[in-house]
Symmetry: C2
Subunit: 345 residues, 2 copies
DNA sequence: ATGAAAGCGCTAACAT
DNA sequence: ATGTTAGCGCTTTCAT
């Protein structure tokens, strides 16, 4: 057997203890993760300083798997998202991380593009890699059962979705319908009769609540939204751009477009401009989400969305579950939406 | 309050063993993470099936911290990024995850907006939460020392940066200068003499290599790029949009703009359109990065960037380090850039 | 104010 | 082909 290069083992708590001339117990109390307060009542200042000096001297770093195994807790939270590339994800992650950090926890993000990956990521929590998860995956409606399974296995979860019911986990939803209806009323009041919809998926089978809301409200006005006016692109700026250009090239194009996302709507404005059309005169555009970019586009984008999106309560929902073993109740948090008419309509 | 949360304990390997009527060792071999091949030579099919049945029956799930502690390995990799919201991050994360998955590893993302957070995240690897890290943080130049420190502590790392030297870790850089110079030549050949630059930071102190390359090449043509032609916005679509509109409102605006990012360049095209200017006639625009969106804008965006960005070698660099304890050499991987002239210039 | 000792759940060297 | 056994590094009683 060839000589295995002796991997220098990193120092353990025992090394710190012997360097400082104290017991491992004392070192543990001095370093004690989130419960540092306990150490104060137990360890003298002189001892603590000696321990810290030893830590620095030998370059000790706690072994997290060992700590997690013993504590049966990680102080880490997973944020599961189906993509990264919109301003929304960045904002959400930043806000959640801030709250978690204040409670002594950290955040890791796992991208879950498929149901199998979502299953896998929740399995990671189940396996003790994190204490809980916040789930932000768009096509999660079909995953009600998956979430319930993990909830039964005592995985603390908060999901952000309008198409799922709390059942062992909390749900954060947006009260979108009134704002979307107001947007439709607004378009109709401005004389639009042929309104296209930019959808997240082109799949007519996939339920898209925003499309349903628009359809329903149009019906209320005696108007219909035909299937051939539903275009793909809400999820991708480039697809949206192409969709709108194709659409505007048709013989009798719609006079307005309602996009299920702001990024799609912004691409729509720009696609119209690129073909020499005037927004809102040749094409009126409404988006969803009210992202910051709405205000700086020209013309400014009318959008249905949360007015000042504050996602910190989402993190607090999860923290409540983490701090309360056998958290008793399911909660539903409703983030209010409004319609904000601007120059694009 | 009980010191240890009275969480109903989840089943362990011992429970599976007694249910299946075998020893814990056998269960361990059947479940053995990445080394499943070893199990084949040891466990009979009948036994394996009995074990798997027991696993399903009692809902067993491996305890990852315990496994990591024992194995001294996690099969997990951290991707550290300073932000999420551009198409680049999405693409990078997806490609890396694919390669890691094929080698039986998983990927978590940690957002590191500050040097302190980068330190903290690398500390997580050091603490045994992951086996290594891929670092994609723009302002990492000042962190050479930090990376060297962790490299000395045997943290396997690959960094993506043009302003850092490999030293105990690998560096992936882009050979940007020739492509950028070609872009400048192209603009000059088309008669542009007053060229603005859209920079990542507005801070004139922060070194921006792309700006330096543009400046240098302009000097070669006897032209200068004055400080008041450097505008902020490459990092943010909205800021870019505002910058260009302000710029075009000046008495004697530049006739071309070179953006350090494609997203900034796209916003520039759009800002020009919004003011009734024609691209490329009133304003020529060049971006950096060659993202997919370049091809679908109108006019299509000229861009200096990688032609078909393949980021999988980045993951392989790290895997080599993970698979080879005391990895001997530092490597530098150069991703070639080209200038791709399109309709925007 | 500090230490001794008993595991947390798992893996792997060493039996058999 | 399967079992025994000795820890991995840490936290937390309980004792002093």
């Amino acid at each position: 057997m060839p000589a295995t290069p002796a991997r220098r083992k990193s120092p353990t708590i025992a090394d710190v203890a012997s360097t400082a001339g104290v017991s491992a117990t004392t070192v543990s109390y001095v370093l004690g993760g989130r419960r540092g307060d306990l150490a104060a009542s137990r360890i003298s200042d002189a001892t603590r300083e000696r321990v810290m000096a030893a830590v620095d001297a030998i370059g000790y770093r706690v072994n997290e798997p060992a700590r997690s195994l013993r504590r049966n807790r990680t102080d880490r939270v997973l944020l599961l998202m189906d993509r990264l590339s919109s301003p929304y994800e960045q904002h959400l992650a930043g806000m959640i991380e801030g709250v978690l950090e204040a409670s002594g926890r950290s955040l890791s993000i796992v991208v879950c593009t498929t149901a199998a990956r979502l299953d896998n990521a929740l399995g990671m929590v189940r396996a003790g890699l994190a204490d809980g998860a916040i789930v932000q995956c768009r096509d999660i409606a079909g995953q009600q059962h998956l979430l319930e399974t993990y909830a039964r296995e005592r995985v603390p979860m908060v999901t952000i979705s309008n198409s799922i019911e709390p059942n062992g986990f909390d749900v954060v939803c947006s009260d979108e319908t009134p704002a979307i209806e107001e947007a439709v009323d607004h378009l109709v009041a401005r004389g639009h009769r042929s309104i296209a919809f930019l959808a997240h998926a082109h799949d007519p089978e996939a339920p898209e609540a925003r499309l349903a809301a628009v359809r329903h409200r149009l019906l209320h006005h005696g108007l219909t939204l035909a299937d051939d006016l539903v275009w793909p692109g809400a999820r991708d700026r480039t697809i949206a751009f192409a969709s709108i250009r194709t659409m505007l090239g048709l013989p009798d194009p719609p006079t307005a477009v309602f996009s299920a996302s702001d990024t799609g709507a912004i691409s729509a404005i720009w696609a119209a401009l690129s073909m020499g059309r005037q927004v809102p005169f040749d094409l009126a555009v409404v988006g969803c989400g009210n992202i910051d970019e709405c205000l700086v586009t020209v013309p400014a984008l009318s959008s249905a969305g949360p007015v000042q999106p504050d996602f910190t309560p989402i993190a607090r929902l999860l923290i409540d579950r983490l701090d309360t073993p056998d958290y008793p109740k399911d909660r539903r948090l409703v983030l209010p939406w409004e319609f904000l008419p601007r120059q694009s309509t």
